[in-house]
């Protein structure tokens, strides 16, 4: 073990990550700058003339060079693809460099460095690529003891030997000296192996088929959102489009002209506040149900559990009366006196199912810990904040994400609330009802399917990004929530 080499490799890896980070910043800022430059159709009579969107041929000036529409699309698409490749790679490597020890380095690490270097080269990041490949040579020296020259020389014979092994026929087993019984066992084992392999094949075919059914709507959504109008409505839509034909301007139209920027902002506000409220109330209530002994605790808890069975429509009817004119007066008032956000947030700042879910994980904390804390003079609130919350933090995190998803997908309540407000209420739409109720129809009766699907993509992609960031937390949380309920 040559410790110096390992440390040198680690140092180099940190520098590579730094270069990677700069590259990511460049990709993202390139995307944002070019996206900002994209030209929209002119505004006529207060609304954009979306009919001519696909026939526009604007010329852009960027860094002293002239770009036409297709070159612009190509550069934006490339920057998006590079970002999608570089960001996960960066975070995975960051995690690895933090936890890697000297004993975990083997030739696979060196191989992966090589492949990552090639990916860097393909995404126009030669500095990272050079550093990675240099790092590979160091790791090869560390693992195998070869110098760079010897290593390059040894590649050709190794490949030759590999192919030689691959193409030499297997020697047939000698079966002459065996009796009848062991022969029959041999054939039955062979038959079983064949059957197993066949079953595995069918399992994989089944799984791939189902996965295709799941994944195709997503793929179709992303592809369609980048097509122009005639590409999205032709009788024979294409399954692939080249990167120069990706109309990123669709997203700009959806964000600005169709006001989706505003709706996303509204949704983020509602999601943030209702989630903060939910976490606060559910943590306190779950603690009371899990730790504090008081009369009627079980009865109160079972009443709460029973209300979970009641359909939400029942609440919505009365809640609508409660928040409107004769109740709190948050909606349905004259223009300017309404408070749509309060009406959308407050009914959802607590959740019985999350109280139930959290109580289960609070109950797993041993009682003796609580008693020991009390002996040391720790108050209940301190115990909750210092002991319970850190122990149950995975559950709390899962609840946070699920609640944010819930607010992001809320449809019926925001629709009812903003529906009574007319023109004023429209400024408070959340994305789900904006998606359904925005008219994607032009004056001449054309349905702008590409814009509609682009709006859908805009709504879906943040969810997918959050999901891929916290994949393990979310999936484990869902699996466990089912097991416990």
């Amino acid at each position: 073990m040559n410790k110096q080499l390992f440390e040198k490799s680690n140092k180099l890896e940190r520098w590579t990550l730094f270069v990677d980070f700069i590259a990511i910043v460049i990709y993202i800022s390139l995307f944002l700058i070019l996206f900002k430059l994209l030209e929209l159709p002119e505004v006529v009579n207060g609304s954009m003339d979306l009919d001519i969107l696909q026939y526009m041929e604007p010329i852009y000036q960027f860094l002293g060079s002239t770009l036409d529409k297709w070159q612009m699309n190509t550069i934006i698409s490339l920057s998006v693809v590079f970002t999608i490749v570089a960001v996960p790679m960066f975070f995975i490597n960051l995690k690895k460099v933090k936890i890697r020890t000297i004993y975990e380095v083997d030739s696979y690490v060196a191989g992966s460095k090589f492949f990552q270097g090639i990916i860097n080269l393909l995404s126009f990041n030669p500095i990272s690529a050079g550093l990675r490949i240099y790092n590979m040579f160091i790791l090869v020296k560390f693992v195998k003891g070869y110098d760079a020259k010897e290593f390059l020389k040894s590649i050709v014979p190794a490949v030759k030997a590999y192919f030689k092994r691959l193409f030499t026929k297997k020697v047939k087993e000698n079966t002459e000296g065996l009796d009848e019984y062991s022969l029959s066992i041999k054939t039955s084992i062979r038959r079983q192996n064949a059957a197993n392999a066949l079953r595995l094949l069918f399992t994989y075919i089944f799984l791939v088929f189902m996965a295709l059914i799941i994944i195709i709507p997503f793929y179709w959504m992303i592809i369609t959102s980048l097509k122009d109008f005639s590409g999205a409505t032709t009788a024979t839509p294409k399954f692939f489009i080249s990167i120069s034909r990706m109309n990123w301007v669709n997203y700009k139209v959806v964000l600005t002209e169709l006001n989706f920027g505003l709706y996303i902002r509204n949704t983020v506000i509602v999601a943030l506040f209702s989630t903060a409220g939910t976490i606060l109330t559910t943590v306190l209530a779950a603690y009371a149900f899990a730790r504090i002994e008081f009369k009627g605790r079980e009865i109160l808890f079972s009443i709460l559990i029973m209300t979970m069975m009641i359909p939400g429509e029942l609440y919505i009817i009365t809640n609508f009366i409660t928040v409107s004119k004769n109740g709190f007066g948050w909606v349905g008032m004259p223009t300017g006196e309404n408070n749509y956000f309060l009406a959308m947030i407050l009914p959802f700042v607590t959740s019985i199912s999350y109280i139930f879910f959290l109580r289960q994980s609070f109950k797993q904390v041993p009682e003796s810990l609580y008693k020991a804390a009390r002996v040391d003079g720790c108050s209940d609130l301190k115990f909750l904040m210092r002991v319970m919350v850190p122990i149950a933090s995975p559950t709390i995190f899962t609840i946070t994400i699920l609640n944010v998803f819930g607010s992001w997908n809320a449809y019926i309540w925001p629709r009812i609330i903003t529906g009574v407000g007319g023109q004023e209420g429209q400024a408070y739409w959340l994305i789900s009802n904006a998606l359904r109720d925005t008219a994607f129809v032009l004056d001449n009766g054309r349905v702008m399917y590409n814009l509609q699907i682009a709006a859908s993509t805009l709504v879906t992609v943040p969810l997918l990004v959050v999901f891929f960031m916290f994949r393990k937390y979310i999936m484990n949380g869902i699996g466990r929530s089912g097991t416990k309920g």
Partner: protein
Amino acid sequence: MANLKNSVIAFFGKILNAIKTFFWNVRRLFTNIKNRFGDFLDKHNINFVTRFPNWAKALLYLSPALIVLMVFTFYPIINSFALVVYQNYNMTTETVTGYTIFGNFITVLTDESFIVPASHTASSAVINTLIIVFISVPISVLLALFIAAALNTIKPLKSFFQTIYFLPYVTNTIAIGLVFAYMFRTDGGLVNQFLGLFGVNVEGLSWVESGAVYWRSMFVLIFYSIWSTLAFKIMVFLTSIQGIDKQYYQAAAIDATPRGRIFSKITVPLISPMIFYILVTSVIGAFKIYNSIVALFGVSGAPAGVDYNLQSIVMYIYQFIDGSNAGNLSVAAAGSLILFAIILVLTLVQMQASKRRVHY
């Protein structure tokens, strides 16, 4: 020069010391007050930690949640029973013309689009909902069970498949519903294009647009509801299958038990509590289907220019809040109580069945 430097340092040191002393004095003062207060409490035998009653503490912790629940959960339950007995309740003026016990229920039950198909249409809310429940729930539960069992037998690519199958769970129902509607378009829809590859005559074969036959639009709806609910079931089944003790499988492997029998005699019985739980929740979920219909067919719940309606029970209720019949909230309350009764009965039946059948 050095002299000056030293004196400056000494000066700042003095200031720092003065500040430190001040804070220590304040702290000492507070400790003193605290100790005196504690002495006083001890003298009169009062101890907040032990004497503060538990119910008061619990109330303190429960109050934020309980206040919200009171206003937005418990009050609506009580109020809906009040709403049901009103006749011609007017929301804006808060006036009623009279009181009735079963009148609103009868209005709902005899309404021509609730149970009985209306004369000009060929479907009703209850029939639609029952069709969705009894077709989509068994198919999705079986499919999820098979996928979970298949996922459990493979090793390479397992987490990759798991991630893909989980994707529908984290999406917006409305957004993907719009994509489905786009995929099932008559001219240039992906599905029609695909069917055309197999020689099916797709000319005018409409699914969600005008001219769609009832069963075709119902097929799209059921397909979409299965697609979007599969993820949760697969995850839950997979988690519970992974929790089964490996010894059962090892014993079966020694006896060379066929795979089919291992599945039906070990896997399914051992996760049967989970299967029943999923059955209950997905039946309830399917009864409450709303967003998928709105996403696919719009707020009217029907493709353009057809003589039927794909309304579900929930959709029927919502039309009294904001829709064609807005304002008559008593009928909506009656409808939601009927929905609650259906769900309650189903849950009780399934709980009874699970007590007898489920292996524990």
